[in-house]
């Protein structure tokens, strides 16, 4: 049955299209977007198929490449968690690529072929990272995705190459630290397979190399996930990259890194061993908590929408990592659910900022006014939905991941982190309602001028290619919120051993 080949077929689709797009693109560059859509569409379809298959059978597919048994060969482990994450990132990528039509014309005319090629490569890397069951193979995919995202970020405004270069330096250091950690573990255990190594770790957990490896891997992946204080590369990269690149990287890139952190902490080491030598979960939890507050506060201080969203990402990734660091079932549910929720919310918000940029030529919050309500009514409804979800008001999706995270902190009696969740929700409200107020209310200072200028703004709503993905995501936020119990029941089956 094809079901068992799905783990290999998903990355293979991206490889195929990463080759097809430049070849055909040299001949006709205008159909590259259609090809990229086809590629990510197939990948999304396959991931949906695989996820449904998993829900029905609960079966974990272990795909051995070339028929070589691990630990000699490389395997892909398509368990529930991987199936879920893969579906999320491919579906988001598909929607963002639909949205990219207008922006690509505007922000990088003539460079569509490289853009779509690289985005396929990047998705290949991300999918590979999620699926692989081999630590070194993971590094290879990490580098594929990283190199592609450096390139994607460099396609943007004049300052983009500079911020991409900075990201390249920091990101490479992060990748190298991770690789160093893997090397340490390999010298001690003699294997690179995650499941195999998990079985061996209890015997060698006291070894100083294992402790060193854990530290190196957490820091290395933490850089990629923009875990505070390793987030320095993120704000500028997201801000100056093309709007569609940031919409593609922001919801997916850091999530995948957080997922790796989850794999390393809860699956490779596991709940019993992770704190055996050092209070790793406590330390990571503290950094996550500080990051949540730091990101929210910095977001309030920004006057540019994309930069605000970038800082907000740092804060939100903190939620996911906090959930992981709680190392209990509620925290795990919260973290996994927040991967989905935040991917939807942040992609939607970046798409809104992209839509505004194509229409207005900027996304400066200071220049927002109440004409937007008339000009882009539905875009603003989508923005409002995402904003309310970010603040965490029920019944939108954002509430429920916070609810599970809060339950997780309560289970650990970690009142500091509970307070962090609550405070950060309020800070979110501050930076979103600030914008909503500008968009929906008259400016009281300019009241006279408003009446004098009787020219009422015309409806100038974005086209279908931009509206459709935004609408899907906004409705998705409501649907995920109301029916989250179904998703959570599936997440129950994804728990690592020891819960």
């Amino acid at each position: 049955m094809t079901g068992s080949n799905i783990p290999a077929l998903i990355p293979a689709t991206y490889i195929l299209f990463a080759i097809l797009i430049p070849v055909i693109g040299l001949w006709r560059s205008e159909i590259t977007r259609a090809l990229a859509l086809l590629g990510s569409g197939i990948a999304t379809f396959l991931s949906a198929l695989g996820f449904i298959n998993y829900i029905q059978s609960g079966e974990v597919i272990r795909y051995y490449f070339g028929g070589w048994m691990p630990p000699i060969g490389i395997e892909f482990v398509y368990d529930g968690l991987a199936a879920f994450i893969v579906l999320v990132i491919n579906a988001i990528a598909f929607l963002v690529l639909i949205h990219s039509k207008e922006i690509s014309k505007l922000e990088f005319p003539g460079r569509k072929m490289p853009y779509y090629t690289i985005s396929m490569l990047m998705m290949l890397g991300f999918n590979g990272m999620v699926l692989t069951g081999d630590l070194f193979n993971l590094y290879v995919f990490l580098e594929i995705s990283s190199l592609s995202s450096y390139a994607l970020i460099a396609i943007g405004s004049k300052r983009a190459p500079y911020s991409a270069f900075r990201y390249l330096i920091i990101g490479t250091v992060g990748g190298s630290l991770y690789l160093l950690g893997v090397g340490f573990l390999y010298t001690v255990t003699g294997t690179l397979n995650i499941i195999d190594m998990h079985a061996m770790l209890p015997q060698v957990i006291g070894h100083s190399a294992v402790v060193g490896a854990l530290i190196l891997m957490v820091i290395g992946v933490g850089v990629k996930a923009a875990l505070f204080p390793l987030h320095g590369w993120l704000p500028d990269s997201y801000t100056f990259a093309s709007s569609t690149s940031s919409a593609l990287i922001a919801p997916i890139g850091t999530k995948v890194a957080a997922y790796i952190l989850l794999r390393v902490m809860l699956f490779l080491f596991g709940v019993e061993l992770i704190d055996a030598q050092l209070p790793v979960t406590t330390i990571v939890g503290i950094f996550a908590g500080v990051g949540i507050l730091y990101g929210s506060i910095m977001a309030i201080a920004q006057s540019e929408l994309k930069k605000m969203l970038a800082y907000s990402s740092i804060s939100q990734i903190g939620y996911i990592i906090m959930g992981i660091s709680l190392a209990n079932p509620f925290g795990f549910i919260g973290a996994v659910l927040h991967v989905l929720n935040h991917a939807l919310m942040k992609a939607l918000l970046f798409l809104v900022s992209g839509s505004l940029r194509t229409k207005e030529g900027h996304s400066l919050i200071t220049k927002f006014d109440n004409s937007y309500r008339k000009k882009y009514p539905w875009t603003m409804v989508a923005f409002t939905t995402a904003a309310i979800s970010m603040v965490g008001l029920p019944p939108l999706a954002g509430f429920f991941s916070k609810w599970y995270l809060a339950l997780g902190t309560i289970e650990n009696s970690n009142w500091m982190l509970l307070a962090v969740i609550l405070i950060s929700s309020l800070l979110n409200a501050v930076y979103f309602f600030r914008i909503l107020e500008k968009v929906y209310l008259n400016n009281p200072d300019a009241e006279e001028a408003d009446d004098a200028e009787a020219v009422s703004p015309q409806n100038n709503e974005v086209g279908f290619s931009m509206m459709f993905p935004m609408a899907v995501m906004a409705i998705g936020l409501l649907v995920v919120g109301i029916f989250n119990a179904y998703i959570v029941n599936v997440i129950f089956t994804m728990f690592p051993a020891g819960f």
Binding site: L407, L418, L422, L441, A485
Partner: protein, 494 residues
């Protein structure tokens, strides 16, 4: 008879009216027709639940699991029907009044106004019929958001500042409530509203009990206006008067005190409250609020702000009544939800009528207005008498039970608080009446007559209702019977 779905329909009917309201924004008469229609249907739906509520029956509808083991439940128990009846019946009056007020005042954006109002009512009925805390929280937050456009309605600096303040207070409250719900759920494994509380077998430590209680208090105390969490309410008077009348005297603030009673009687339960001395905390805070708010009311020259502080004080009557933990006290407390509603909505209606008709909002400028607006001022007098606790207005009945409840528990300080506050009420209301009737009005009053019937009829009707309910509390809706049923279910859980 199939009653199961009626709570759901009662919640949804005003929500269903929203698209119609929005679509008929160009035709004001049609638009207002939808509001009235939804109001009447909603009221009738709630009314069909009354017979079963009087028998103490519970109609429950489980909608879906919002999270594993946490269903979204609509449940029309006696207390819920009680609150829903008050909110939905007064909405009809307010809708008529709104037509007169909004058109008389030439307000802009009336479509947004009526649409938000409808959402508010859906949320309020949802709060009334919430069968567990998670459902309550969802409607509670919905109410917060739906009220916001009404608070900032005039979109001037003052209104926007009030809107910010309102959101800051209520969103913080919502978060505290969520935290409280989280801890409760973790400890008890349920969030159901159960008469007598859900903490039955749970071992609580003193600090834990106080933490949970304070989180809950922060959560529901903001909307209930318990000091020091009250200051959004006077600011929110920047909203149009019908909003102040229905939302800031009935729906929103009563949702707060409704929440207080839900927490005290249905989540924590009287036993837990008494065991850890939580009722003492509540009593002290409510007592201080009653006195301080009454004193602050003296200092307000703006009529609506004086009424707002009076509301803050009277909300704490209800809270204090719940904190007494005696059956009679709770009856008085629940009764005061209904009596204060009819009285205070009358007073706000009067304030709005004066504002639209004479363009006066300060008490110092009300000299002699009873000559031009006799009906309005008569209603105002009835409302004031009721709030001061004078018979035959219904305020007397609830206050009587509140005071008796305190005596029953052997608590003399609360009785003193009620008595002093009654005197203070006389002190800050009667100068207004005195000005209106006995001082000579200025020349600007000449040529003015009574306000539009759209305003005068509702305000006079609610005043008459206040008297009728004072003479015969079980008239029409059996408010008294319901209050007794609720109180006895909490103190004698099955």
């Amino acid at each position: 008879m199939e009653l199961t779905y009626i709570p759901l329909f009662a919640v949804l009917v005003s929500l269903a009216a929203v698209p119609f309201i929005l679509l008929s924004s160009k035709k004001p008469n049609l638009r207002e027709f939808w509001t009235i229609l939804a109001g009447v249907i909603k009221f009738l739906l709630v009314l069909t639940l009354l017979p079963s509520a009087l028998q103490g029956n519970v109609i429950e509808l489980q909608l879906l699991e919002i999270a594993p083991d946490l269903p979204l439940v609509l449940r029309a128990d006696t207390f819920g029907v009680f609150f829903a009846l008050i909110a939905s019946s007064l909405w009809i009056f307010t809708s008529f009044y709104s037509i007169g007020y909004m058109r008389g005042h030439h307000e802009k954006k009336q479509t947004r106004y009526f649409a938000s109002f409808a959402v508010c009512l859906s949320s309020t009925i949802g709060i009334a019929f919430s069968g567990n805390l998670i459902t309550f929280i969802i409607f509670y937050e919905m109410l917060t958001l739906a009220t916001y456009p009404l608070v900032i309605h005039s979109e001037n600096k003052k209104a926007i500042a009030a809107g910010r303040k309102y959101l800051t207070y209520t969103l913080t409250a919502g978060l505290l409530l969520i935290a409280a719900a989280g801890i409760t759920y973790y400890l008890t494994g349920t969030l159901e509203f159960r008469p007598g509380g859900i903490f039955g077998d749970v071992e609580l430590s003193q600090p834990m009990a106080i933490t949970i209680f304070l989180l809950f208090l922060g959560g529901v105390g903001v909307k209930a206006g318990i000091m020091p969490l009250h200051s959004w309410l006077p600011s929110a008077m920047a909203a149009p008067t019908p909003v102040s009348a229905l939302l800031h005297a009935v729906a929103v603030v009563k949702s707060g005190v409704f929440g207080v009673i839900r927490v005290v009687g249905f989540i924590l339960g009287p036993d837990v409250m008494a065991e850890f001395g939580l009722n003492d905390i509540l009593m002290v805070m409510a007592g201080i609020t009653i006195i301080v708010a009454s004193l602050l009311a003296f200092a307000q020259d703006n009529l609506k702000r004086r009424l707002a502080y009076s509301t803050v004080g009277h909300l704490s009557y209800i809270v204090l009544g719940a904190a007494l933990l005696t059956e009679t006290g709770l009856i008085g407390s629940i009764m005061h939800i209904s009596t204060h509603a009819t009285m205070k909505i009358t007073l706000f209606f009067c304030a709005g009528a004066i504002m639209v008709n004479l363009h006066k909002s300060n008490i110092s400028s009300l000299n002699g207005i009873a000559k031009v607006m006799p009906w309005t001022m008569a209603a105002f007098t009835i409302g004031s008498m009721g709030l001061a606790g004078l018979p035959p207005v219904n305020g007397f009945v609830s206050k009587w039970f509140l005071a008796t409840g305190a005596l029953e528990g052997g608590m003399f300080i609360p009785v003193t608080v009620y008595v002093i506050s009654g005197l203070l009420n006389v002190g800050y209301f009667f100068p207004i009446i005195h000005r209106a009737y006995f001082k000579k009005g200025g020349e600007e009053l000449e040529g003015h007559t009574e306000a539009s019937p759209f305003m005068v009829v509702p305000l006079f009707t609610t005043a008459i209702l206040s008297i009728l309910f004072g003479v015969y509390p079980d008239l029409f809706f059996n408010f008294f019977d319901m209050a007794t049923t609720v109180a006895s279910s909490i103190f004698n859980p099955m």
